[in-house]
Amino acid sequence: MPEQKVVDTDYLLLEAPREKKFITGAQAMAEAVKRANVDMAIAYPITPQSEVMHLVGDLYAQGYLKDYYRAEEEYGTMSAIAGASRGGVRVFTATSGPGLLRGIEAIASWPGHRIPAVLGVLTRVVNAPLSIQPDNIELAYLLHSGIILLHAENQQDVFDMTLAAFAISEMVDVYIPVAVATEGFFVTHAKGYVNMTPEDMKLPPRDPYKAPVPVTDCEVPPARIQRDAPVQKSNFMSYLIHAVWQQEVWASNMRAMKYIYKYLGGPIEVVNPEAEVFVVASGCAAAQGREAVRYAQQEGLNVGLVKIKSIRPFPAKEVREALKNAKAVIIPEHNIEGWLSKEVKAAIPNSGIVTDGPRVYGGMTLPVELIMEEIYKSLGVKGKQRVVI
């Protein structure tokens, strides 16, 4: 059993000294699990998340976790995660693309069951056609589940968001699962610098009595619901309780925002707030957007970046404020549907200034030059950067 001392959550997340390492996104996620005092991890393999769960399995072998096993498939994994969490332990799992969809019936029920858990979502194309390459269309399926959804730009974000996710998920006024998403391969299998807290420090253990619902009482909802679904169809529960229960899930989702401010510095990051043209992006596309803003500034163009870290709760107020003087908004994404574009357009009063794209999908990379072309078009200039085909 490795020597780790329990430290205060705020100390670990905000004040503890950090050491820089050069690691992959998958390693970063596993390193966060190592420091999170996780009791149990349940795995089912699917590229590109398998490496995360391999590394978490290594943590189990080293004594950082109490239990770890491979479930039968993702539906079983996610159902078992709910059961374990309800039993009072801190849990972690990860999945990708079609695996997410295979387990989504259970995942979508987690918030209503008030299950604190952390789910790594390492994105991958959803078939058909099949590919193992990155594409984050799967996040669109999570948007309406009630789950808190954080989108990591790089390896550092993966570490910070995963570690904070355990704390946020278990707050009494939140107590719903948190998904930490990032692009498969582009982040999970590429190395980047990560400032990490010491590995001999860990979060306090989960206190299952510090909860808004009774601890694992299988006679009483919400735990009862998993063993006795018809209780929810009881004629002795008014329809209004179903409605206010759903409201409570979304209220809990919104309450997480203050912890996102506290532990992650807020739901958005703005570069060059006085800009006229903004690139708005999340995840790996934010890294490309950041590079595009750098090229643009080198060419003397007044372009800014709004990186969105929290997809749910969506920072509508913050996005509106950041874009209030914008003349054009460009939203690069790694999916065909443009789910982020739709969220941003719904949040701002003048959605006509938004360019839907550029978008790449099916595993294609997002060249910075594609974003630059949109920037030049928005500013009406002939620029230097071109996509070479």
Binding site: V172, P214, V220, L240, V244, Q247, A251, M254
Partner: protein, 239 residues
Amino acid sequence: MSDKKIVPGPAGYMPEPAVFMGVELPPEGKALLYGEIVDEEQAMREAAKAMLTKSNPTIFPGPQVLWNWKEDVADKAQAILELASEIPNCRIIPMPDYRPKYPKIDPEAEINPNHPNLTILHNRIEACIFVGVHCHYANLSLRMIRAGTNCFTIALCAFMGHEEAMVSLRDVHADDIRRFKDVLVQVRNELGIEWTPKPPPRNPSLPKEEWEALNPLDYGDYMHLIIPRKGEENVTETE
């Protein structure tokens, strides 16, 4: 106070949740009053005024104070009884169970989070205090009460509080309940209400429990814990 966001209802068929209206939970040391963050003293005084001036004031204790499940609970329950003694004509109606009850609850004996309005409306309760109820169920109940009744709700929460209540105090333990009791006595004197402290009446509808008369069949589904099934009579070792 600026706009009161969370006021006694009825708010309507489908109530807008307080969180959606922008109400945030108070930081440590503060309280919520009508959805605004205020000092604890101000919130306590308003809560006291409601319990002293509105009809049929009632305290709804939940499972976390109804059973002596950990060390400090008995003291908290005692503090609640002391508070109830200081409120004229106060009743105590427990919320012992979050499950739907069959065929119907007795609304004079209990309140149930699946339909709290039944108890509120039957007893014409216009001011109530929730204490010792798990936060999830407190939020559901408080929202339904605000939707369908004109009851003034007060939440004494051991954690962060409840946006749906007209008054919400946080981090409430036995000492804080006694502090609230002192504020209530002060407000009572200021309002000129005369009252000799006395415990609330016993709930008239709760059936007397006669454990000696308990029949194994009363165990229902769990009967087989004490009466073995056919073929299981001689089992002595289990895995």
